[in-house]
């Protein structure tokens, strides 16, 4: 029961106690809750106290999909922004679509009751730049999303903002770029290093890199769980002996690595040669046990088709 005394008051929505208003608005569908934020201050406060009910949010360059809702798309027409949802279009005068879209996104992300499982960005730098701008202006940080999925070109300068704002326990990072011919691999490698310096060590990382030489191997020795996918844009398709050796050595000399899955085209003999050269190996068919005397640790290495699994097995 609310503490508010109802005595001698006229019952209206305006003077409805917050707990009751929360109960009322808590019955609404997610989109209705969001629309209610624009009704008045009281409704705005109430909706912010309620869980918006989104488990997944997907952000695209010109659209956002909130779990359970249809896609909301945004675009400019002249000086106005047009927002389309469920077959209806609403126009906002003198507004840029990015302002409207990212403001909408933050109005959901700022909700303390949001229990977000997956936040996915598949967008270009303009969105990240706007997120950066609004996050700095509003001092936003530590927004929780259990799994962060990013599909973009890491060269996007504003991308680092994402890693400063969002608190996540797993990360899937995939490279997307239409014009791969003119990619500056040196710059790309540097950006990967900068980005993965920002990723906390407890995060489970799933990285898809297109060119092996851009892989920031040195940044990866801090992670406990890693999945690396090499979908090579370069020839040859296979990871060569030297590349595999480089990765495995770094991962095996990590003090914290528990498991690593490398997905790539490779030649089994190359891996066996690397392992045999470097460390004492006790192998049988496709599963090998590596004993590293210096670290007093053992790892199992499974050689599967297009996949190498390295798992710490103990002393």
């Amino acid at each position: 029961m609310t503490e508010t005394s109802h005595n001698n008051s006229i019952a209206t929505m305006e003077n409805m106690p917050p707990e009751i208003l929360d109960n009322i608005l808590g019955n609404l569908k997610p989109i209705e809750k969001l629309i209610c934020k624009k009704v008045c201050r009281k409704f705005y406060g109430s909706v912010n106290r309620l869980n918006p009910g989104f488990l997944t949010i997907e952000v695209y360059t010109r659209a956002i999909r909130y779990y359970g809702l249809q896609m909301i798309s945004y675009r400019n027409r002249g000086n106005n922004c047009l927002v389309r949802y469920a077959g209806k279009t609403k126009s906002f005068e003198n507004s840029n679509y990015l302002d409207v879209m990212v403001t909408d996104l933050f109005s959901v992300l700022k909700n303390q009751r949001l229990d977000l499982k997956v936040l996915s960005f598949s967008c270009d730098n303009s969105v990240f730049a706007k997120i950066h701008e609004l996050a700095v202006r509003n001092g936003l940080t530590n927004i929780r999303a259990e799994h962060l999925s990013i599909m973009t070109n890491p060269i996007n300068p504003a991308l680092t903002t994402i890693f400063n704002i969002f608190n996540h326990s797993s990360l899937q990072f995939s490279y997307i770029e239409a014009d791969i011919e003119n990619t500056n691999l040196q710059l790309l490698a540097r950006r990967y290093r900068e980005i993965f310096e920002l990723v906390p060590k407890y995060v489970k990382v799933d990285l898809c890199v297109p060119w092996f030489r851009t892989f920031p191997a040195g940044s990866f020795s801090k992670f406990r769980r890693i999945e690396l996918n090499f979908t090579s844009f370069a020839q040859p398709e296979f990871l060569n002996y030297r590349e595999i050796g480089n990765i495995i050595q770094i991962l095996l000399t990590s003090d914290v690595l528990d498991s690593c899955v490398l997905s790539a085209e490779y030649k089994k003999d190359d891996v066996i040669k690397v392992l045999t050269d470097e460390i004492k190996l006790q192998g049988n068919e496709n599963v090998f046990v590596l004993r590293i005397a210096d670290k007093n640790e053992s790892y199992s290495v499974e050689l599967l088709e297009k996949e190498i699994k390295i798992t710490r097995t103990g002393v």
């Binding site: 029961m1 109802h6 569908k29 629309i35 909301i72 945004y74 609403k90």
Partner: protein
């Protein structure tokens, strides 16, 4: 009002147990008196605790003055007790937040709440004050249903909420009240109006 003239809430006779039932007498703030069965009272945590604390015998309930409910008028209290009598014996829902709350409005409740908004809001307040969980849930659901498919402007009209100008006055009053949380919400709302006055939600 005398006990003899008191309005008696309709009771479903078939649902009455064989043993002798005790009916408590309650009085609204406009002096309307109601007789309500012991089982129906259990729907209200507040009233149930009250009558337990009083420890009335069947003679007491007839001879002692009716229990006054100061904050609720007779029209509202009649609806409340009609609802309690209809739903007596039903389990009281527990909302611990572990599962999403899904509220269905039964036919009886829908008819009972086919009333003007003012009375509906009073019913909500009464259900809250008397801690009648399910009545509060269904009445809140009824109010929420009014919001379906409405724009913010339409919602202001439906719920008789203040215009922007009146809202400004409320904002000033809230600031004067010096409530830190109210100020925080004000600032957030104002900030959103500044940067995202043009936002979809």
């Amino acid at each position: 009002m005398s006990v003899e003239n008191a309005p008696v809430v309709d009771v479903d006779e078939a649902a009455i147990p064989v043993e002798k039932k005790m009916y408590y007498r309650f009085e609204s703030n406009d002096k309307k008196e109601f007789r309500v069965s012991e089982l129906a009272i259990q729907q209200s945590e507040t009233l149930n605790r009250l009558v337990e604390a009083m420890g009335y015998t069947s003679e007491d309930v007839e001879n002692k003055p009716a229990i006054a409910i100061e904050n609720i008028d007779g029209k509202t209290l009649k609806l409340v007790f009609q609802w309690c009598e209809h739903h007596k014996g039903e389990a009281i829902p527990v909302d611990d937040g572990s599962v999403p709350k899904i509220v269905e409005i039964p036919e009886f409740d829908a008819k009972l709440m086919d009333i003007d908004n003012g009375l509906l809001f009073k019913l909500i307040w009464a259900a809250d004050y008397l801690n009648i969980v399910q009545l509060l849930n269904v009445s809140c659901k009824k109010v929420a249903n009014m919001a379906q498919g409405k724009t913010p402007a339409q919602l202001r009209r439906v719920y008789l909420l203040p215009s922007d100008e009146e809202d400004e006055a409320a904002k000033r009053a809230a600031q004067e009240a010096q409530d830190p949380r109210a100020r925080e919400v004000e600032e957030e709302f104002e900030e959103r109006k500044r940067q995202g006055g043009n936002s979809f939600f």
